[in-house]
């Protein structure tokens, strides 16, 4: 059976999510800022046209934002995560096999659909996603994943394609390869691109004309796989759903510099509780916890300190209380007075499914009670928002909290945040 893949990619995903619930932003430059409102991490086409660069620090565009020439938003991952889920669920009715590749990209296995009118089918997918979620997407369809990725890029750029490009005809595939610069090929990094250009390989087509041996010699087996994929021979299958994570890390830079133990303790306890919640969501427990703290390594004035401490707990757990307790023990061991801390984090490893825990003979913790309590807390968090009920060490000052001055509401996940319709 001939293979056939589609890559569905959301156009300017973060900006599009904001626009669904704020349609006045359509046609206007929109940027999304990183955690802590530090720099630009996503842009609408209009913002790109204004010359705003990826990674541009916020202070450089503050003028544009304050004069309302650009709309800026703090990243709202709760919203983007939910909208991403909706897009993927919508896609899942078009094929039984799909691979969620990132928050805004998904490979669909369309092998077996070759007898259908692929262009129509791709358009139907695009229109359904747009209708159900409000998110505009582009689709590239081709016999291999690498070619589908390439088709997707061209679909976005070309006004004739208008967001959908099907590459099955050998002549079209060749034209597409010729039109793609080697720098823009999936899996070719900057170093390989420079290396190849020195050898007169400028387009994806030039690359497909290289000999397999030469590619293996200079670019390992990964390069060979890419070569075959671009020649139309499928080597990359859909990857299954990601297995339960082996390690979970929650770590943030602080909104302001933190120098008291109490503030650091609040932050660290909160991160430990976040880890605990993530563990419970994937129905697993962790046995090992690591806490680390950093000062700002980019500051030349401040004295520097980096430290971490790992604790192996007696029994694997996913309880807020236990994890925060051990996180604080670890933090106490590494905390030093007199530094301005910029970041702390909690990392849990040795993760096991919650039904395969090795218990301790001398265990004094009432695990039944803990798990019931955590169930109640998760329930309350779902209903009233994260951290409404918390372990007291998580504190109430939150001086360490991230700066997110331009955050949009949680339109789809919190009842108090749903949009308003005006009937006047």
């Amino acid at each position: 059976m001939t293979t056939l893949f589609a890559l569905c990619d959301c156009n300017n995903f973060y900006a599009s999510c904001e626009r669904v619930f704020n349609p006045a932003l359509n046609g206007k430059p929109v940027v999304i800022l990183s955690n802590n409102d530090g720099c630009v991490i996503a842009r609408s086409n209009e913002a790109k046209e204004q010359g705003i660069q990826m990674g541009e620090p916020y202070f450089k565009i503050r003028n544009l934002v304050e004069n309302k020439l650009v709309d800026a938003f703090s990243s709202n991952y709760v919203l983007y995560g939910d909208m991403s889920d909706r897009v993927m669920q919508t896609l899942s009715q078009f094929t039984p096999n799909l691979e969620v590749y990132s928050i805004d990209e998904c490979f669909l296995d369309l092998s077996g659909f070759s007898s259908t009118n692929l262009l129509n089918y791709a358009w139907e997918i695009k229109q359904t996603v747009h209708q159900w979620t409000g998110i505009p997407v582009s689709l590239g369809v081709a016999p291999t994943k690498a070619l589908a990725k390439l088709a997707n890029k061209l679909a976005k750029k070309s006004s004739k394609a208008n967001g959908v490009l099907v590459l099955t005809n050998p002549f079209h595939i060749r034209k597409a390869l010729e039109a793609t610069k080697i720098d823009n090929v999936w899996g070719i990094g900057r170093q390989y691109a420079t290396f190849l250009k020195k050898r007169n390989v400028h387009t994806a087509y030039d690359f497909t004309q290289l000999s397999e041996n030469w590619v293996r010699q200079h670019m390992t087996v990964v390069g060979v796989r890419l070569l075959k994929e671009l020649r139309g021979e499928s080597c990359l299958d859909l990857e299954d759903v990601a297995p339960a994570k082996k390690g979970i890390c929650t770590s943030r830079s602080f909104g302001a510099r933190v120098n008291t133990f109490e503030d650091l303790q609040e932050a660290t306890a909160s991160y430990a509780a976040r880890c605990a919640r993530k563990l419970r969501q994937q129905k697993s427990c962790a046995k090992v916890i690591t806490v680390f703290v950093n000062t700002n390594q980019f500051s030349e004035r401040d004295s520097q300190y980096h430290a971490s401490k790992t604790i192996c707990m007696p029994v694997a757990t996913s309880s807020d209380m236990e994890l925060t307790q051990y996180a604080i023990i670890a933090l106490k061991a590494i905390y030093r007075d007199g530094y301005l801390y910029k970041k702390s984090g909690v990392y849990v490893t040795d993760i096991v499914p919650e039904n395969q825990i090795q218990y301790d003979l001398l265990d004094k913790v009432n695990r039944d009670k803990h798990s019931k309590l955590m169930g109640v807390i998760d329930n309350l968090s779902d209903r009233f928002g994260r951290s409404k009920v918390r372990v007291a060490t998580q504190g109430f000052k939150n001086t360490w909290q991230l700066k997110s001055d331009f955050k949009s509401p949680f339109y789809t996940t919190k009842l108090n945040d749903i949009p308003t319709v005006y009937l006047r």
Binding site: T90, W132, L423, R424
Partner: protein
């Protein structure tokens, strides 16, 4: 004094249990767990309780909610403070309230079809219906599937 008894075991009597097997054992669900006595006659008739969410939301992927502010749709039974359950996957049908984006804000109008023309009509005589044309940059955002309304304003 008591002597330990030796129980002879043949390997054939030992049942091999691996973890996969253990995991797949499911505990049956009963309405009552009386260890002795008469079993509840309801055990055979256990069903899930009614989930109002499932009833209100046919297609969770395309369903969103909005809160009403204002009174211009009272005649269409939509009141200030109500919650609207909106399904973006539904096609507007004659007489259904729809959410649209007009003059910079979300609003609700009744979708009306007269002949081969489509209109957005307010439920308020002070306003004129708006005719929907191809050139208009006006998209219907979603169709109102349910209006959640409390009997007494709180």
């Amino acid at each position: 004094m008591c002597r330990a008894k030796v129980i002879p075991l043949s390997p054939l009597q030992l049942e091999h249990l691996d973890f996969d097997y253990l995991e797949s054992i499911k505990i049956p669900f009963f309405a009552s767990y009386i260890s002795a006595g008469f079993p509840s006659p309801a055990d055979d008739h256990m069903e899930e309780r009614i989930d109002i969410g499932k009833h209100l939301i046919q297609n969770p992927t395309s369903t969103y909610m909005m809160r009403v502010k204002g009174t211009s749709m009272i005649d269409a039974n939509i009141h200030d403070g109500d919650i609207l359950v909106i399904d973006k996957s539904l096609k507007p049908a004659d007489g259904l309230p729809v959410v649209c984006f007009l003059d910079g804000e979300f609003t609700v109008k009744t979708f009306k079809r007269i002949g081969d023309k489509a209109f957005l009509a307010p439920a308020n005589p002070a306003y004129e219906p708006i005719e929907l044309t191809e050139e208009m940059d006006m998209r219907i955002w979603g169709v109102v599937a349910w209006v959640l309304h409390k009997p007494v304003k709180q």
